[in-house]
Symmetry: C3
Subunit: 321 residues, 3 copies
Amino acid sequence: MTRAAETGGRGPLEREPLAYLTASLRGVGQVDLQPQLLTGAFILAGLWAAGWKVGLFATLGTLISTAAAYAFGVDRGSVALGLQGYSGCLTGIALIGSLGNHPATYVLTVVGCVLCTVLTAALTTLLKPYGLTALTAPFCIVSGVMVLGAPSFDRIWHGAPAPVAEPTSGDTGITFSDLWHAFFGNVSQVFLVDSWYVGLIMLVGLACAGVRVVLAAALGSVAGIVSAWALGAPTAQISSGIYGYNAVLVGIALGAVLLANTPWNAGYALFGAALSTGLTAAITSFFKPFDGHTFTWPFILTTWGLLAAVPQLPRLRAATA
Amino acid sequence: MTRAAETGGRGPLEREPLAYLTASLRGVGQVDLQPQLLTGAFILAGLWAAGWKVGLFATLGTLISTAAAYAFGVDRGSVALGLQGYSGCLTGIALIGSLGNHPATYVLTVVGCVLCTVLTAALTTLLKPYGLTALTAPFCIVSGVMVLGAPSFDRIWHGAPAPVAEPTSGDTGITFSDLWHAFFGNVSQVFLVDSWYVGLIMLVGLACAGVRVVLAAALGSVAGIVSAWALGAPTAQISSGIYGYNAVLVGIALGAVLLANTPWNAGYALFGAALSTGLTAAITSFFKPFDGHTFTWPFILTTWGLLAAVPQLPRLRAATA
Amino acid sequence: MTRAAETGGRGPLEREPLAYLTASLRGVGQVDLQPQLLTGAFILAGLWAAGWKVGLFATLGTLISTAAAYAFGVDRGSVALGLQGYSGCLTGIALIGSLGNHPATYVLTVVGCVLCTVLTAALTTLLKPYGLTALTAPFCIVSGVMVLGAPSFDRIWHGAPAPVAEPTSGDTGITFSDLWHAFFGNVSQVFLVDSWYVGLIMLVGLACAGVRVVLAAALGSVAGIVSAWALGAPTAQISSGIYGYNAVLVGIALGAVLLANTPWNAGYALFGAALSTGLTAAITSFFKPFDGHTFTWPFILTTWGLLAAVPQLPRLRAATA
C-alpha cells in the first residue's frame, strides 16, 4: 500500500469526481490487497471478460460502497486507497450469481453495498484492539446473510441458480491440464469466477503491483494445489479453483503485505496457504446444513488467526506499517 | 434513561423492599430500553393480559434476575435502573412457552434467570472495550441454550409445544386488517406474544416514556412491515408480528436511546430497522437445522453492528450518555 | 501453577534436552490445569493404560506442540510450565480416535499440533484484554476443524470410526455401579477415554497436586452426575462420563485454580459445573447437523462466561495470579 503514499500532493487524481473513480478502481484491486490503479484496471478488465453481468455488478458494487463511504464521511485516506470499495465489488458479484439478473437484485446490491461500508466501519472498531483489519469479512457477512435469507422472500427469490461448485468427493487423479487450470483458476475464484484466462489477466495485474506480490500469489496458488492434492480432494474441484482461491489470498496477505519479508515469515505464509485449503473443506461442511456459502471465510479466519499469533511468536514479525 | 437520574436522593423508592420492587418493575420496561415505572407497569399489565402464564413467568423472571443481582453485589445504580431484570423477564416467558407449565420449568426458570444476571455481567466486561452494551443477548443465549438442550433430558422435556410461528413461505397479498394487526403485533412479539391489544397496551406504556420513544417504536414497526412486504414475506407472518418485532427494538434503540437526535441518525435507525427484518429470515434459516430460536438476535446483531460502525462514520453521532 | 515458581534457579530440569521433556510432561498435566511433574506422570501413565494408540498420540502430540513452541520462540516461562503442550496432547488423542491408525493421521497430527501452538498464541492475544486464557480452545478448534473437514478428502478419510458416545435419549434409572463408574469416567473422559481405572489413576495424579485440586475435581464430578441425573439424562451416558467431564474441568478451573478460595467462589464453581452439564446437551444438539464434536467446548464456554462476569460481581474474587 506504499504506492498511495506517493499521492500526498493534491494532483488531478485527488479532485472530484476523478478522485471518486480512482478510489473505486483501487477498490477493485484491494480485493487482492493491492491499491495500485494498474492492478485494479487489469482485474476489472478480467471481470468484464468473465461476462457482462459479473463486470457490471463488480463495477456497481465498488462504486456504491465507495460512494456510501463518502456520504458517511469515512476518513478520506482510507477511501482514496480503495479500502471502502473491495467488499462491495465482491458483494455485487455474489448477488448477481446467487439471485440472478432481476430488478430486485439491483436494489439489494445497493442495500448490500451500503451495508458493506457500515460493516467495514464496525469491524474496524472491533478489530482495532488486536491490530487486525476487516479483510473481506464485510463481504462474507453481507452476502452470506442475504443469500441465506433470500429464499424466504417471494419478491427477491426466483429459484436457486445453477449450484455453485463446492467441495464434494470424486476422482483424485490429476493431469497437467488440471494443474495449470487450477493454477489460474485459483486466482479468478477469488472473484467467484471459474476461468483460467480471467485468472491470467488478474495475475498480470498483480505483477504490476510488484514481484513480491505476484510471487506470493503464485506460490499461494501452488501451495493450495499441492495441499489439496495431498489431502485427496477431487480433481474436478481442484482444477476449477475451488480449493485454492483462499490459498492465493493468504499467500498475498501474509506473504507480501502484512508480514515482513523474512524466510520464517515466508514459511509461515505457505503454512497458512495450506491450512486455508484444508479449512475450505471444513467450512463448507459446516455451512452445508443451512445452505451457507464458503466465500472467502477460510482466508479470513486463517489470516486473522495467524496474524493474532504473531505478537507471541518472536520468530515472526509483522510488516512495519 | 435520564429519568433515573432524578432519583438521586434516597426517597422511599430507594428503601428496601420497595427499591427491589421498583427495580424489577423498571426491569420489565427495560426490555424496551425504558426505565420509567409507568412504562414498566403498562407493559407488565399487557403481559398479564396475554395470559396468566406469560404474566407470571415474566414477573418471576424479572424478580429472580434482579434478586440475583442484589445477591452477587452488582452495582446498585445498574440494579435500580432495571438493567439486571429485563433478560430474566424474557427468559421466563421463553421457558414457559417452550417447556410448558411443569414443576421442572419453575426450577429451570430460577437457574436460567440467575444465569442471565451472570451473563449480563460477563457481556458487560466483554463489550466494554467497544462501548457496546449487552442488550437482550443474555436472554437469547440462556433461553437458546436451554431450549436447544432440553429435548435431551427426560425430566424437563414433555414433548414439543405448539410450534412457535417462524418465517416460512406463503401468500404475500396484504389487507388493511393485516397491516394494523402487524403494527401492534410487532410491539407485542418483542415479548413473544402475538396479540394486537397487548401491543396496544405496550405502546401506551412507551408513550409514557416520551414522544420520541413511542414515535421511534411506531416508525420501527412501520419500517418492519414495509420492508417485509417489499421483500415478499408471507402475509400471515407479517401480520402476526414475526417479521417486525426486531424492527421495533432497533427503532427504539437506535432511534430514541443510543444515538443523538439528528436527521442522519434517524435515517440510520430506519435503515437498521429494515435490515433487522431481512436478518430475521437469515437467522431463522441458520437456526433451522438444529431447531434453534431466532428470539431477538436480529435486533442485537443489527444494533451492535450499526453502533460499532458509528465511531468511524462522522455523519453519525452516539447519544451523550 | 505456583509449584513452577520454585524452579527459579537453573537446576538440571532447565537444561536441554531435559527441560524439553519436563515441559512436555507438565503439558500432559496442564490438560487438567496442573503443572506438577508427578501429576503429569500419573496422567500419562493412565493414558498408556488406556491403550498404546491413545498413549502414543498423547505423547507425540504434547512433544510436537512443545517443540513447535521452542521453534517459534514462545516465552520460555510459558513453555516450561507446560502451557504449550496440553492442546497438542488432546489433539493427538482426538485425531487417532477420529481418523484411525493410518500414515496420514501421523502427518495430520504434526500439522495439527503445530497449529495448536499457533492458536494458543492467537488466543493469548485475543483474550488478553479480558484477562481470560485459552484453556483447551486451541484443541477444540484444531480437532473440530480437522474432523469436520476430513470426510471431504480421500487420502485422509478411511470411513467413520465407531461413533463417539454422545448424548441421546434412553433409560434414566440409576444404580450404585452406574454412579461410581460415572464418578471416575468423568475424569478419564476429559482425555476422551471411557475407563473407570484410567480415571482413578488420573485422580491419584490430581491428588499429588494438592487436596484442593483433587477435591475440586471430585466435587465437579459429583455435581456433573447429580445435575445430569436431575435433568433426566440417559444413565448409559452418565455412567460413561459423557455428561460429567466438563464438570470436572470446570470444578478444577473455577474451584481450585482461577478463583480465590472463598465459600461464594466455591458455590459459583459448583454452579458452573452443573451448568456445563446442561450445556453439553445443547452443544451436542448444535453440532449434530454437521457432525461436529462437543469436545471440551462446554467447559471452555462456561469458564469463560463465568470468569468474565467476576469483575462485575463483587461477591466473587479472582485468584491473585
